[in-house]
């Protein structure tokens, strides 16, 4: 072990609990000046929460943070900045309508006689740009920059704060290969100058190229901490996914029937390339991949939410036209989207109205809504899906996340779909409800419904799927049968 770098930051036993989730469970780690620490873990492992604690966005429940050996309290983003910590988020925090210098110095512009001293501001900005190796006019509008250049601006901004620790949250996710190389040059020069760096990424190749140490997180716990030189890709992956699969999956074998849905050569203008697959009756087809791999986009394109550039959709062997969601519904497709509050529920409306919403036409009697039927149907789902609500007139916004999700599922079951797409159906839901949803999926499959499930939780997608399609950057990377699928094999495919 090399120990040239002095310890800049030390966290001891940090914990943070959100309602129902232990996001951070007694995490301890040290970050040394002039070293690059790669922080890896699956989605939901707790990386972002940890970063948000360090940058003052969240307050930790317990634990201690020390900077250069002295205990500190990080109460807000400003304090974090004063302590020398800068964070560069995945979604860059830049003002597109302002120029480079204005972005770097926003809120703390150099002043003269009460007015902004533009000459001085541009001089200092130019100096910072040189340090990050960006040769540009500081009066350039940020809107006209590439993503990589914007990232450089963020780095320059961090330097202007005299940052001693720079945290980069998946900085390469939207960069091309050569842009990534440039970024790495800067990271290396920052390291040489004694800046400590935490680098969050999913990409194994980058981890081994840039980092000195690797820390693996999983389910809010710190699983492993090791020297990059002393470990291998396989070791890191198996630490990421863990070994234990909780036995909560209720997948029963359902008879697999004819092809219910076939998608051929589907592309969208910006992102998806040549997506094609088949889905059979009674089958549960898992879609795995990292967040941003394009899984939700495929489903949105199939369901007529986003426009397709090319691609044909066949249902029961017949080519169908799906131009909008009305067509999708008419063709027997149901879609439980990933964000139930934004995309699935009318939070201000009652449980009953939400359940009947998609199938409302079937409740028509002489032009009016048949309230008796509506009540009966709602009561049926409340009972069958064990939705915990005082009455069917409860406002959906007042239910817990799990019960809200059941309302969404009930809504789509009432449309009697032939094909049901579930995007992250168990996100933010407690284990008991998860199991109920798995049982429900299994039951629907047995009734011959063809099911697609997008899930970022590997145990879930492996436990529930008959077949798994793995996506990567807008394309289908490969397909695994239930027998072939292990957490390692799926992860390998998703990362590479």
């Amino acid at each position: 072990m090399q120990n040239e770098g002095k310890i800049f930051l030390e966290v001891r036993n940090i914990s943070k609990t959100f309602p129902g989730v232990k996001a951070l469970d007694h995490i301890s780690l040290t970050v040394k000046s002039g070293r690059v620490l790669a922080l890896v873990g699956e989605n939901g492992a707790g990386k972002s929460t940890l970063m948000k604690v360090l940058s003052g966005v969240y307050r930790m429940d317990e634990g201690e943070i020390l900077i250069e050996g002295k205990p500190v309290q990080i109460k807000g983003p400003l304090e974090s900045q004063h302590l020398g910590i800068s964070i560069i988020y995945q979604e860059l925090n830049l003002w597109l309508n302002l120029n480079i210098a204005e972005n770097i110095f926003i809120g703390r512009e150099p002043r003269k006689n009460g007015l902004v001293d533009k000459v001085e501001m541009h001089r200092q900005a130019g100096e910072l740009l040189r340090q990050v190796g960006l040769d540009m006019d500081t009066k350039t509008l940020v809107a006209s920059l590439s993503t990589a250049q914007k990232q450089m601006i963020e780095v320059a901004k961090a330097l202007s704060f005299n940052a001693r620790l720079i945290i980069m949250d998946e900085p390469t996710s939207s960069l091309t290969e050569s842009e990534t190389e440039t970024l790495f040059e800067i990271v290396k020069s920052l390291r040489k100058r004694g800046v400590a760096i935490i680098f969050i990424t999913h990409r194994m190749k980058e981890i081994f190229e840039i980092s000195d140490e690797i820390v693996v997180m999983r389910d809010g716990e710190l699983i492993a901490s090791m020297d990059t030189a002393a470990t291998t890709e396989n070791e890191v992956i198996s630490d990421m996914v863990g070994r234990s699969i909780d036995d909560i999956f209720a997948k029963e074998k359902a008879p697999i029937g004819d092809v219910a849905l076939e998608v051929k050569n589907l592309s969208t203008r910006k992102f998806l390339k040549d997506i094609g697959f088949q889905l059979r009756k009674g089958e549960i087809l898992g879609f795995a991949g990292l967040v941003g791999a394009g899984r939700s986009e495929v489903m949105r394109a199939i369901f007529g939410i986003d426009p397709r550039e090319t691609g044909d959709i066949f249902i029961d062997g017949k080519r169908v036209k799906i131009r909008n969601t009305v067509d999708a519904l008419r063709n027997g497709i149901g879609f439980v989207p990933e964000d139930r509050k934004e995309q699935a529920l009318i939070l201000s409306m009652t449980v009953r109205s939400n359940i009947s919403l998609a199938a409302l036409d079937s409740f028509k009697k002489k032009g009016f809504i048949d309230k008796e039927k509506e009540k009966k149907v709602a009561a049926g789902y409340i009972e069958k899906l064990e939705i915990k609500t005082p009455t069917d007139e409860q406002i959906v916004g007042n239910l817990s996340g799990g019960n809200q999700q059941k309302v969404v599922i009930g809504k789509w079951m009432e449309t009697k779909p032939k094909i049901l797409i579930l995007d992250e159906p168990t996100r933010g839901i407690d284990v008991k409800t998860k199991k109920e949803i798995y049982m429900l999926m299994s039951r629907l499959a047995k009734q011959g419904v063809a099911i697609i499930m997008i899930s970022s939780e590997l145990p879930e997608v492996i436990g529930m799927s008959d077949r798994i399609i793995v996506m990567h950057e807008g394309r289908i990377k490969g397909e695994l049968s239930q027998e072939e699928a292990t957490q390692e094999s799926v992860m390998m495919m998703a990362l590479a």
Binding site: Q343, I346, S348, L357, L360
Partner: protein, 326 residues
């Protein structure tokens, strides 16, 4: 705020009534009425009560239209101009084209419907913000009023047309019947039909409504078209009441209609609003206008007082909702 035990003791129907979102503004209206009945003898006369009602009919009718637009999260600023234009078109087609009253009313409403439809298309297909789209059509409709009349009021309309605004059925003025019919039709439409339910859903969460397989574009166009239609109807009633087609009619009227519906509990952020609330809101505006006249309040002060009443009514409603939320 009622505590839980408190609520249990009260009979169920009373609780339902007080929990109804229109209850607090209904109370404001009742207080205003009682106060006026006590302090102003002329207010008590039947003819005055009827004139108050006649006064708020146009506001209530177009208020119901713009309420639907506001439920979807939009706004219609053009309704005052469309109101004026419909009156002018109706008057002109009776005097110049020699149409009978029915045809005249039909043509006026058709033009109003057309403007509403155009608003909807601009919002949905060209993606214009409703504020901007209807600001433009507001100016266009008003411009047309002036162009086709050359700025002069149109008089000499056949008397058969005056029944709509000046006549009475069973001693109750026709405009009040018109309002009652519109309120009942739209009350049922919004609360009992599939389309009405979808309008509320769209206002509550447009994206979720679309992903529920519902054609939100069609719904939006429908709502704007209906708003134009109702504004036109209100404008024609007014033209009939005055007996002339006035090119300046309805200038600034959109603000009265919007204020009535907002006083009536319609949320500008969408998803919430009721016909009964809007009718009560319009009554408040009507009673207030009438009261200020009867109490001989200076005309310059009337405007200011109305402003404060709007503030007060809406603030009271917001506060009660906030407490209910806690």
């Amino acid at each position: 705020m009622n505590t839980k035990t408190n609520q249990m003791e009260k009979p169920n129907s009373w609780r339902k009534l007080t929990k109804n979102s229109s209850f607090s503004i209904l109370m404001i209206l009742v207080v205003m009425l009682v106060a006026m009945l006590i302090i102003s003898p002329p207010f008590r006369s039947v003819s005055n009560i009827l004139s108050v009602m006649r006064l708020f009919v146009p506001i209530a009718i177009s208020g119901i239209g713009v309420m639907m637009v506001i439920i979807t999260g939009g706004i219609d600023l053009s309704l005052g101009s469309v109101y004026g234009l419909a009156g002018v078109i109706t008057a002109l087609s009776i005097t110049e084209l020699g149409a009978n009253a029915f045809v005249g009313v039909f043509l006026g409403m058709l033009v109003a419907l057309g403007f509403g439809f155009a608003n909807g298309v601009l919002v949905v297909k060209i993606n214009l913000p409703p504020f901007i789209a209807t600001l433009a059509t507001m100016s266009i409709a008003r411009g047309l009023c002036y162009i086709i009349t050359q700025g002069y009021p149109i008089s000499g309309i056949k008397e058969e047309f005056f029944f709509l605004g000046q006549g009475a059925i069973l001693e109750i003025p026709t405009p009040i019947w018109c309002m009652a019919v519109v309120a009942v039709i739209f009350g049922i439409f919004l609360s009992k039909t599939v389309t009405g339910r979808r309008i509320y859903a769209l206002g509550g969460n447009m994206e979720a409504t679309r992903i529920s397989g519902i054609n939100t574009n069609k719904l939006l166009i429908l709502v704007y078209a209906l708003c134009g239609l109702l504004a036109g109807f209100a404008g024609i009633i007014t033209a009939s009441k005055l007996g002339i087609g006035q090119p300046t009619s309805g200038t600034g009227f959109e603000m009265d209609a919007i204020a009535a519906t907002v006083i009536g509990g319609t949320s500008l952020s969408g998803g919430v609003g009721s016909v009964i609330g809007t009718v009560i809101g319009a009554s408040i505006m009507g009673v207030l206008r009438n009261a200020l006249v009867l109490l001989s309040v200076d005309a310059y002060w009337q405007q200011l007082i109305i402003g404060f009443v709007i503030l007060f009514a809406v603030a009271a409603d917001m506060l009660s909702k906030k407490r209910a939320g806690n």
